[in-house]
């Protein structure tokens, strides 16, 4: 049965196809209709049908897409999707997304509810791009007010973000990770009665955490896993707090971005509500290179295993 469920990539592709063909939507981006339809997430449609190829002018491109979204305003149909196929390109693109799309509803009363898809990938274990792009880059967008951020890894999570986007008029940043595109099943939280620690993984680190769990169990270390999907706003509710309160050694927020971003923000927010210590793990505080020994990847299962074991002291 599981094989018949659509993958995350297929879900994105078909959801987009329906919106373009039946709701006057458009998707902007570079090289959308070539090179594998951006890992199979973009329907093979024409410009007339809504797939709009942009030139290699990254800074301008986001302005074009935002201008389109701004012109459309709060209308549920006719909205703009903007796809940045490698996360590092967001350095160029961020200006119109963070400074115009995020602010316009508050400053002018007219929203620009653009859906910003960013496709991230590992370095040397995936299509290596070394120093060009870090892994995820959602930390860049947590800074400005007005932008919502979600990091889905499953079809259901992605659709929940999509629905929230259509139901509201705010720009939504979807931080995707290519390791998730093949996933078909949802990923429920794992909660124990007597845990040592609670792990709050984000994006692809969720997969690495799940790989680390059996290794930790062999050491007698019991871990809760609370998947963080919505990064901004990140609702600090009992789903997060209850497992943490029961954890003798607090928690860790694990991110596929650098630590000075979303992970520290969320860890700080959580600690406002509890006396438990919440640490962070993310990319190391250094640049990354093409060679394997220079790459800078999200915390691996081995790294997570060692870090947790060190904290718990077993």
């Amino acid at each position: 049965m599981s094989d018949k469920k659509p993958t995350l990539a297929e879900t994105i592709c078909e959801t987009t196809r329906d919106y373009l063909l039946n709701h006057q939507g458009v998707i902007f981006g570079q090289c959308l209709n070539g090179a594998g339809q951006v890992a199979g997430t973009v329907p093979a449609l024409t410009e007339e049908q809504g797939v709009i190829e942009l030139p290699m002018a990254d800074v301008m491109n986001s302005g074009i897409a935002v201008g389109y979204a701004y012109g459309n305003g709060a209308n549920r149909d006719g909205r703009a999707i903007y796809l940045v196929r490698y996360a590092g390109f967001q350095w160029f693109n961020s200006v119109f997304l963070a400074n115009f799309a995020s602010k316009t509803k508050e400053m002018s009363g007219r929203p620009a509810p653009i859906l910003i898809r960013t496709s991230s990938s590992d370095g040397s274990t995936g299509p290596s791009i070394g120093p060009v792009a870090s892994c995820s880059i959602h930390g860049l967008f947590v800074h400005n007010p007005g932008m919502k951020i979600i990091a889905p890894m499953t079809p259901g999570e992605w659709v929940s973000g999509w629905d929230a986007w259509l139901d509201h008029d705010d720009p939504l940043f979807i931080s995707e990770y290519r390791t998730g595109y093949g996933i078909r099943d949802e990923m429920p939280d794992i909660v124990h009665d007597n845990p040592d620690i609670t792990l709050f993984p984000i994006s692809t680190t969720r997969l690495n955490v799940l790989k680390a769990l059996p290794m930790l169990e062999k050491e007698g270390i019991i871990c809760n896993v609370i998947h963080l999907v919505w990064l901004k706003p990140c609702l600090i509710n009992q789903r997060i707090l209850d497992p943490l309160e029961k954890s003798r050694h607090g928690g860790i927020v694990l991110d596929s971005d650098f630590e000075n971003g979303v992970s520290k923000c969320i860890a700080c927010d959580i600690m406002q509500h509890t006396s438990r210590k919440v640490r962070v793990m993310g990319l190391e505080e250094r640049a990354s290179g093409f060679a394997a020994h220079l790459d800078n990847l999200p915390p691996t299962s081995e790294k997570i295993y060692k870090y947790v074991k060190n904290i718990v002291g077993k």
């Binding site: 006057q24 458009v26 709009i52 942009l54 030139p55 002018a57 800074v59 301008m60 986001s62 302005g63 074009i64 897409a65 935002v66 201008g67 389109y68 979204a69 701004y70 012109g71 459309n72 006719g78 703009a80 200006v95 119109f96 400074n99 115009f100 602010k103 316009t104 508050e106 400053m107 002018s108 009363g109 007219r110």
Partner: protein
Amino acid sequence: MERSPDTGIIPNIANFFDSATTLELFKRICVSRAFELRTHQVFDTGVIKAPIYLSFGQEAVAAALSLSFFEDNPDKYAQHRAHDLYLCYGGNPVALIDELLGLPTGCSGGWGGSASIQCPEINMHWHDGLMGSQVPIAVGDALRKKRLSINRRTLSITGDASAEEDYVLTSFAWASTKNLPILFICNDNDLSVLTEVRLRRNWSMTSLAEAFKMPAIEITDDPWLVMHHVKRLAHHLPALINIQICRGSSHAGTRRGNYKTPEWNRYALIQGTLNKLGLTKESEEIEKNANGEINVIWDKRLKETGNV
């Protein structure tokens, strides 16, 4: 191209327009100019707390645009220094005063100050404060309207400095590639704050636009000449007009500092043309009325807000 009050001039171009149009043109120039000169005075009293970007000296361009590019109430995307555009297209002067005073009743609700004014009634959009960002935003909106067969053109206005931003230049190129109904105006006062164009580039906006296969022309700020070319190019959009202007004020605020003396006085040149057209008496009356009306509006609002 050399800067001159006669760049691209067509002899006796004002004669091609009827008196009613010419007098309406002059009225809009006078209203905008009177507003800016009074704003200058008020700013110097300390009542206006935010930076101001005055447009006097360049108001002939906005007035000409408002009489030659208006039929479909086009979307207007400008940046700072747009009081003239706002007023010439019919924006409420009281709401602009309130915006300058930082009141919630301002045209931007107090968010924009002088730099980011907006007016939905005239389809004038806000600006996010980043130089030239309005251009790709305008192009994106123009693309949407074209896709959805919305027959409303787009007007994008920059200065000669912001027009150099890489995302502005690529926006020109993309608008041309997609054949979008948008008119690009570059108000060229030869300065980025105090740095002249010749020190920043060895190319012109028009040569670049032509390389992008977009009709383009560089002209002086004679308002009749501007109207002539806007009407002509309106049938060949997208198009770009680089207009040489001489602004009367410095970059921000009212202190001139090292700001250069304007090379020509367009307002005086327009008055000379009106005299030649036999419209001296009418134009003097228009000027007097505009000054009076604007001062009454300013005085009333200052009194109502306790700023006398």
